[in-house]
Structures are given as C-alpha cells and as structure tokens.
Subunit: 197 residues, 2 copies
C-alpha cells in the first residue's frame, strides 16, 4: 500500500524500517474516483497528498470564472495547497482527481510530527520545497518570455508523459491560454510537421 510512497522518499533520503513503521502509523490511504475532490476552495487544506496512482489537478477560479490550473500531479507526485496547509487559512484552490486515484494522505499534525520523529523527512521536505521553488521560477519566466506556441512546445518537452494523459483544454488552462488558442497552435504545428517531410 505504501510502497510507492516509501520508494519516492527513498530517492532523496535514507529511510529505515523503523521510520517506515512510524510513517505507516501517521498516514492514511484514500481513493478518489475521477471528478471527486480532495479540496474545495473556501476550505482549509487538511492534507498533503502523495499520488500512488491516477492523477490530480489543483486549480483556481478567477472573477470571470475562468479556471487556471496550478499543478498536475500524476503518480509519484505530491499535491496540496501549501499556503492553506501551513497557515490554516481558507484555500483559494480546488484539488480534483482527473483520473481515479489512490492517495497517501498526511495531515498537518502528522506532517509536523513526522518531521520531528524522522529527521530525514524534514530533509526531504527541504529538498521538495527548494526544488518546487526553482521549477516554479522556470514556469514564471516561460510565461513571461514565450509565445503561446513556444510555451506549448516547451511544456511538451518538460512533461511529455503528463500532456498525453490530460485533455487539451486543461493544458491550455495550465499555460494561461484559451482552449481555442491552443487548438489553433496545434493545428499550425501539425502543418509545420507535414511540410517538413
């Protein structure tokens, strides 16, 4: 049940069997069917979720009720609203399963406990946050510097696997484009490709 979770942690830190026992006492496994929610905006985010299988997305709905996808989380990834999780303020985000998924949930109290009880977990989170910050900075610069077409190509290069499993309008939403614009970009790209041969 927790194997994938432990393997993920073990990629960056050293977990003893004793550590694993501690973890197993402080996490919960949960299943979500496609289109079920882990978090609705307005709620306090109660968990960090590790995705054992399936895929989730977190997104925000703006004034004009357009959705903006913050993150995709396929198997092997974590997802949460870290801001709400830490501050216990109401979240602006929604977290939804876009495939039927199995999750390992860590509550706020458990998260704090585990960082103390398993110092390597503290280190793991240090690395996660640092990496997430760097990745997000790249995303920000790509939204500033690239055209719609370049953003799309760039994204395909970074996450080819994820982009194959996700509907186009969600890719558009992640990139800050409309579905129509992305459709036209794709058309142009296939035309380019065929001319190339």
């Amino acid at each position: 049940m927790l194997n994938d979770f432990f393997n993920k942690l073990s990629k960056n830190i050293l977990l003893t069997e004793a550590d694993k026992v501690i973890f197993s006492q402080h996490v919960v496994v949960k299943k979500l069917r496609k289109r079920q929610y882990l978090l609705h905006e307005g709620e306090i985010c109660k968990h960090v979720a590790f995705v054992n299988s399936g895929m989730l997305r977190s997104y925000l709905v703006d004034e004009k009720s357009n959705e903006h996808i913050i993150q995709f989380a396929p198997e092997g990834w974590f997802i949460s609203d870290l801001y709400s999780f830490i501050t216990e303020d109401a979240s602006n985000l929604n977290i939804e399963a876009i495939e039927s998924s199995e999750l390992v949930l860590v509550s706020r109290a458990s998260h704090i406990y585990l960082e103390k009880a398993v110092p390597e977990f503290f280190k793991f989170n240090y690395l996660q946050y640092r990496g997430a910050y760097i990745a997000l900075q790249k995303r920000l610069t790509s939204t500033f510097t690239l055209s719609a077409e370049e953003k799309y190509i760039n994204l395909l290069n970074i996450y080819p696997d994820i982009m194959q499993r996700v509907p186009q309008h969600m890719i558009a939403s992640y990139l800050g484009l409309t579905a129509e614009t992305l459709s036209r970009v794709r058309k142009k790209l296939t035309k380019k490709k065929s001319e190339h041969s």
Copy 2:
C-alpha cells in the same frame, strides 16, 4: 557588520553566540556601487547574498533582448540564482545593484558547511524555500488572473516600500508589462483618484 544578517536569521531561528562566531568565519562582506553586478548570465552563481543595505535586482534577458525582472532584494532580503547555485550550471540571470549596496556573501561550500554546523540554519533555509515557493505561486496566479492595472495595484499593496525606490520601467518589467503600458495605467489611476475627491 553582520548584525543585520544575524537579526534576520534570528527572526525565524535561535542563534547562539557560538553559531554567530561560526558564521563570521564563513561569510564575506562585499560592497557594490550602483550598476555593479554580482552575477552575469553565463557564469555560475557562486553566492547567496544577504542585503545589508541598498537594493539589488535579478533579471533575465529574452530573445528579443527584453529584460524581465525576477526579483528585487532590498536590505533584509536574500538574492541568488538558486538553480545555478545548487547545480553549478551556468546561470541565465543577471544580478545587479540598483543602489549602492552592502552584502553578506555565503559561498556554496560555506552554505553546505553552515547547514551542517548550525542545524538551525538548515531549518532557516527550509522556511525560506517554503515561503519563497508560496510567494512565487501567488505571483504566478496574479499574472494569470489580473489585468495590467490590477497587477500594478496588487504589487503596490504587497511591496509599497520597494515600489517607491525603483524606477517605473523596472516595475513594469517585474510585472511583465512595457514601460509605456505602465505609464498609461498610472495616468488612468491618478485620474480615477482625482475624480474621487
């Protein structure tokens, strides 16, 4: 010399006098005049800099040679290219003093050493990265969801102090706007204000 630096750390962690001695042996104080650089793109980022006084900016230059400001760092802030600092890959960023500044520099080797020798420093960085990630996510969502005018107002609310010290074209660059657009936004806002009275 290092008082501001220690005060900053002490806001989040507990530093002993012994810790301070260790720090003082592993950091370097450096001054930059206005328009001098801490980092040029293509170089490996060798330091994390704490700003004792003055202000720096980090920015990236795109294909069309437009500048995009990633970060402003006035006194009390840290600045670096974390990606390059960690991976030792060449940086895409430039870091420049926009006022004459005094910095406390921590090299990569010292950073690693200090995190081991002063566990509280490791914790400090954990908190820094986590906070930076959350702040950056807010910045990303504001670029997705807000109009030019809203972005500007939002930024003034978050960093009123910094925005008063920085030329407008740099504010524009930070927001992903042109200087002309920001100038027009500001004109419209002063008009609104005068109508209000």
